[in-house]
């Protein structure tokens, strides 16, 4: 997913830092507050209100699965890993936990703003793609419905091409997908189909 990065809506956004008290937390908090976010710090568990947070920064060094009140990798907001040890095992855990971006420890003077933008961009892209994939999967599952509707329509239209055209016309008229139109046709008694029924 490319295009301009969205910079709006960070003012007043809520960030949670899941890390034990440490200079890392101080430096992160300073940067986040300078950008205009509200910051809450907690360790070792995320409180229930974390579900309403806009960003979660989590410790990739000492973190563990039970800290998060959602299924692994299914965080409802962008996640940013705080990485000290770059050992492959910890990177793998951070990825499985749903990291959309990372900030390296020790945290210095900068790095948080770009991490926020990259994490949000990646999170939204992932969510959009997941929704598209679910829709495509659902439509794939309806292949048989479409085939049955075309076969039924052939009885009145005479040819496969005309049947398919009639199905498309019905979908456009009803402003629904091909699969939904097919399901509607199959649910109705058989009748002649007219092309382009006026709305």
């Amino acid at each position: 997913m490319t295009g301009p990065v969205r910079i709006a809506d960070l003012g007043g956004a809520r960030a949670i830092i899941l890390h034990r008290p440490h200079a890392v937390v101080t430096a992160l908090t300073r940067q986040l507050q300078a950008v205009g976010l509200q910051v809450t710090t907690c360790w070792p568990e995320l409180p229930a209100e974390a579900l309403a947070a806009d960003f979660v920064f989590f410790d990739a060094d000492m973190g563990f699965d039970d800290q998060f009140p959602w299924d692994k990798g299914a965080a409802p907001m962008p996640m940013i890993a705080l990485i000290g040890s770059e050992a492959p095992g910890r990177v793998e855990w951070a990825l499985a936990t749903g990291a959309n971006a990372q900030v390296l420890k020790p945290v210095g003077d900068s790095g948080v703003y770009s991490a926020l933008l990259i994490a949000r961009h990646g999170f939204e892209a992932r969510r959009t793609l997941a929704a598209e994939a679910a829709d495509l999967r659902r439509r794939l599952g309806e292949r048989q419905t479409v085939v049955r509707a075309v076969v039924q329509l052939m009885q009145t239209t005479g040819s496969e091409d005309a049947a398919y055209a009639a199905l498309r016309a019905a979908a456009m008229d009803g402003r629904v997908g091909l699969e939904e139109a097919a399901a509607r046709i199959l649910s109705q008694p058989i009748r002649p189909v007219t092309k382009g029924t006026p709305r």
């Binding site: 003012g11 950008v35 976010l37």
Partner: protein
């Protein structure tokens, strides 16, 4: 007996943007002279001059030289954002502070920098808020090929599009280049309602002269129909541009008013030194405090420097060069620095229009 505190000055007083460095340095030195002459003050400053000569690769080494080999913890300096970003790691390493006295493109809030001039919500946005209804929504964007030009033009593009306007072209020149012919040709071909000029130094002077020549031949490009807008042009460069500056419109926190500061650069550098003196005045141990701790002292809290962003409130003035000097044509009010543009939007009153006579 005054405590004498060394104070670094890191300005290029030679090189392509020397005029701005000289203006800032003048402001800093005038403030240092005032502090040193003030018998009521506990502190005096000993300026340590370093001149990178406009060479980007000399900023970090010279900053390091000041912080490593002297007891100075504070440096007034840098003009380009590129040079500021070059010295930040060095400041971080030594716990030093940079006092930065020129306008910049925002999206930064270093723990080691105080930003004393305007950022986009204080210059570019008020300028466009005023200029689009006044001149039209079709803009042409120019800039020097580094972060200032890129980011100013990105923000301008977004803002112009959000207001239903159009960007007719966007062109960059390398720092120091005076090869403006192609830009001018594109501007002639597209005939925009205004030009946003984020070129710096000699590139900017050459551009303004070439555009004035075009306007002399074709009145569609005269300042009343196609003005040049700028967020970095001040009095300190007017002499370099000469008559071609006539009609130029600039946004800034200060424009020369009688016998006051020569430019907003000079004013901001002066303000930096005075604010620092006020903080160091409080007790001898303030000399070794990091910026965050200094801002937490009573004088720090009174300084007007925001503890979270290290930015300062600035008047959003818009001025036009008339008869060789800037005249304020619109006052957008005082605005807090909002480097990430995450603060509340300014109230409607600040976009109030005033007809230019």
């Amino acid at each position: 007996m005054k405590r004498t505190i060394p104070l670094g000055l890191l300005y290029s007083v030679t090189g392509s943007y020397a005029r701005i460095g000289q203006a800032c340095r003048t402001g800093a030195l005038n403030a240092i002279a005032a502090i040193n002459a003030d018998t009521a003050r506990q502190v005096a400053f000993d300026p340590l001059d370093r001149d990178p000569g406009g060479n980007i690769d000399l900023y970090a080494p010279l900053c390091d030289d000041i912080l490593r080999h002297t007891t100075a913890r504070h440096i007034i300096g840098c003009v380009t954002s590129w040079s500021r970003k070059e010295v930040i790691p060095t400041l971080e390493k030594h716990g030093g502070t940079l006092w930065y006295a020129v306008p910049y493109e925002g999206f930064e809030a270093s723990d080691h920098v105080v930003y004393l001039h305007a950022c986009p919500n204080q210059h570019l946005l008020p300028l466009l808020d005023w200029a689009l209804p006044t001149y039209g929504k079709r803009g042409f964007l120019t800039g020097s090929n580094y972060i200032w030009g890129w980011e100013m033009n990105r923000l301008a593009r977004d803002t112009i599009h959000a207001k239903g306007g159009e960007v007719l072209g966007e062109r960059y020149l390398p720092l120091g280049s005076v090869d403006v012919a192609r830009m001018i040709e594109e501007i002639r071909a597209t005939a925009p309602d205004f030009i946003l000029n984020s070129l710096i130094g000699p590139s900017s002077y050459a551009f303004l002269r070439a555009l004035a020549e075009l306007a002399a031949r074709d009145p569609r490009f005269a300042p009343d129909r196609c003005p040049v807008l700028s967020c970095n042009m001040t009095e300190c460069e007017l002499a370099d541009v000469g008559a071609a500056a006539e009609g130029l419109i600039a946004a800034g926190p200060y424009f020369r008013d009688g016998a006051g500061f020569g430019s907003s650069h000079e004013a901001a550098a002066y303000r930096a030194v005075i604010a620092l003196a006020d903080m160091l005045e409080q007790s001898p141990d303030t000399a070794s405090l990091p910026l965050s701790a200094l801002l937490d002292t009573p004088a720090g809290q009174r300084s007007g420097i925001d503890a979270k962003t290290h930015h300062t409130a600035q008047p959003a003035l818009i001025a036009q060069v008339r008869g060789g000097a800037f005249q304020v044509v619109h006052n957008g009010g005082v605005r807090a620095g909002d480097p990430y543009l995450t603060g509340p939007a300014p109230s409607a009153s600040v976009t109030r229009l005033r007809v230019i006579s």
